[in-house]
């Protein structure tokens, strides 16, 4: 009964926001955080209970209707999303007095809808249901992107919306073809029957899915809009985009891929696509001077890295992918929140302004996040990158290995450029106030980066289990179809 709660509770909360906002200015904010905390608690208790994969039915037995599958893999993502969303809400609360959003109740509605949709994407086992959550996540992200209603924000919102609409057309096309050929919408049933389809149909469906999800998972020839969207949106919201939204899309894309998309050449193609995406994104980011856009390029690179790891399709690499997902989510979250703290006075920060800023605390926190993103040992970013590269080496994919390493080097060039600006010796005029609550969030994120980096074995087993579950398609089919 628990997996529906993860979706239905935030949805209920979203619907009820107008009601709650009548109760007082703070009631809404506090109840929202409380609700997210309780979801987090629920997810943690599920984690500790070590339960096996469970199927939650919606009104009808599994292959016919919609059902939610809560496995180790999806629980991991749910945990990550609720954790990040809770931290986000807390951060927002702590800095709220200084700069609250206009129409705050709508902001909270969107946050909870986004949470519900991301979790729904991860849990759902029905491809049309996934389409619906795809749209909910998308549409709340469009509005969050355009929220401040400046020309920049609206432009980014429009671009996000247009690409999202086009992506959903391709996705819908694929779903329609799947239903026409297979006669079912359940992932497990499709997985069973997909291999029997004619080659060309399989090809068409996979390519349509690739294009549909490709826009959302920001893979190379489909990701030209991403940097604009990041630049136009506020840094606060960007933290959600790169921390939660992309991760949900990535997870569901590869979940579908492992279940029924063609193996072999197609996966090899995806691997190199990921490698090229990473290289192109990092090279393009090299000369960037706008911080938000720079982080957007870095997000593209890191997401491509996760893409490569998932596309490897073996347990080690998928485990590495989960490590990178966690590392990147935490670190980018931290960077964008730090940027949000810095941008309280002025939006769209230029890299030169880093020289002026006088806030050792934020600087140190940004150092931690950047070092983790670069995959420096002692940080969790290293564990993921190392496991991925190791599995690339073992599989003998040396070209890809060198590609990833070169891309990492290029990423290091611009991150160290930033650090150089931050370490600039000279008078610093801009004092940035960081409240105690904000500090606590940064410190907890930074500590988790370090602790997970030094003691990765604490979660390695869990992640390996998640990788096994995600890759084991026969178990999934048996679970849903039975026999």
């Amino acid at each position: 009964m628990s997996s529906t709660l993860f979706i239905a509770l935030p949805l209920l909360f979203g619907f009820a926001t107008p009601l709650l906002s009548r109760l007082g200015k703070n009631a809404l904010a506090y109840t929202s955080v409380l609700m997210q905390l309780s979801l987090l608690g629920l997810a943690l208790s599920l984690l500790l209970a070590h339960s096996s994969t469970t199927v939650e039915l919606i009104s009808i037995a599994a292959p016919l209707g919609i059902s939610f599958v809560l496995s180790t893999a999806s629980l991991l993502m749910v945990l990550l999303f609720t954790l990040l969303m809770t931290l986000f809400s807390l951060y927002y609360l702590f800095q709220r007095r200084a700069n609250a959003y206009a129409n705050e109740s709508k902001f909270f509605t969107l946050l909870n809808m986004l949470l519900a949709a991301s979790i729904g994407l991860v849990l759902s086992s029905d491809i049309f249901n996934i389409y619906v959550f795809f749209e909910i996540a998308g549409i709340s992200a469009y509005i969050l992107s355009a929220y401040s209603k400046t020309a920049l924000a609206l432009e980014s919102g429009l671009k996000y919306l247009l690409t999202g609409a086009v992506a959903s057309i391709f996705l819908l096309f694929a779903i329609v073809l799947i239903y026409l050929h297979v006669g079912s919408l359940n992932l497990a049933v499709i997985a069973e029957q997909f291999q029997l389809l004619p080659y060309n149909v399989k090809l068409l469906i996979s390519l349509l899915l690739l294009i549909g999800f490709g826009f959302k998972v920001e893979v190379f020839p489909l990701n030209f809009w991403v940097t604009d969207v990041y630049q136009g949106s506020t840094s606060l919201v960007n933290a959600l985009f790169s921390g939660i939204v992309v991760k949900a899309y990535l997870f569901v894309f590869f979940h579908i891929l492992y279940l029924f998309l063609p193996q072999g050449e197609f996966t090899l193609f995806l691997l190199y696509l990921g490698g090229v995406s990473m290289l192109v994104a990092e090279v393009a980011g090299l000369r960037q001077t706008n911080l938000k856009r720079l982080f957007a390029y870095s997000s593209l690179g890191q997401v491509a890295l996760i893409f490569v790891a998932f596309a490897m399709q073996n347990i080690q690499a998928v485990q590495a992918a989960f490590f990178i997902v966690i590392a990147h989510s935490l670190a980018k979250f931290m960077l964008f929140l730090a940027l949000a703290s810095l941008e309280k006075t002025e939006q769209n920060m230029h890299i030169d302004r880093l020289k002026q800023i006088d806030s050792p605390f934020l600087m140190v926190m940004m150092f931690l996040a950047m070092l983790s993103l670069l995959g420096i040992p002692l940080f969790v970013g290293f564990v993921g990158k190392f496991l991925l590269l190791k599995s690339l080496a073992v599989e003998g994919m040396l070209t890809l290995l060198v590609m990833v390493v070169v891309a990492s080097f290029i990423e290091a060039i611009y991150y160290f450029k930033l650090m150089g600006y931050m370490l600039h010796k000279g008078t610093r005029s801009e004092k940035v106030e960081v409240s105690l609550g904000e500090k606590m969030i940064f410190v907890s994120l930074g500590l988790s980066l370090l602790l997970l980096g030094v003691f990765p074995m604490s979660i390695a087993g869990f992640l390996q289990n998640a990788a096994e579950v995600l890759l084991d398609q026969t178990a999934y089919i048996t679970l849903l179809v039975g026999g």
């Binding site: 919102g157 919306l161 630049q231």
Partner: protein
Amino acid sequence: MFEFLNQPEVIKTIVTLGAMSLFFVGLFGLLTRKHIVKVFISIAIMESAIFLLFIGLSFNREKVAPIIDATQTQVATMNDPIPQAMILTAIVIGMAVLALGVSFAIEYYKLTGKTEIDTMNEMRF
């Protein structure tokens, strides 16, 4: 005289050709038009093409609408209800996205006076 049109093969061909030509119109518009409203219209046309394709192909001429009443109780002779339900959902979603997009476009136009997507470059990158 037009009896041959009732053959399933022919219906399938006609539906496919029709829906795909609509899709072509939409795609062409998407790839070449710059005015933001035209882009929205193109997207709407493409969506409709897919709806039509789905409904047209999943509709069986020999079966009836899936509504049980005094005369129709035999479920075996009824059409598949899922495509209709799916398309109902998809239409509403498409409409919602379109409405939101139009409101973005209106607000953007008010702020900048721009309507063409290739001139949307407020960002100096």
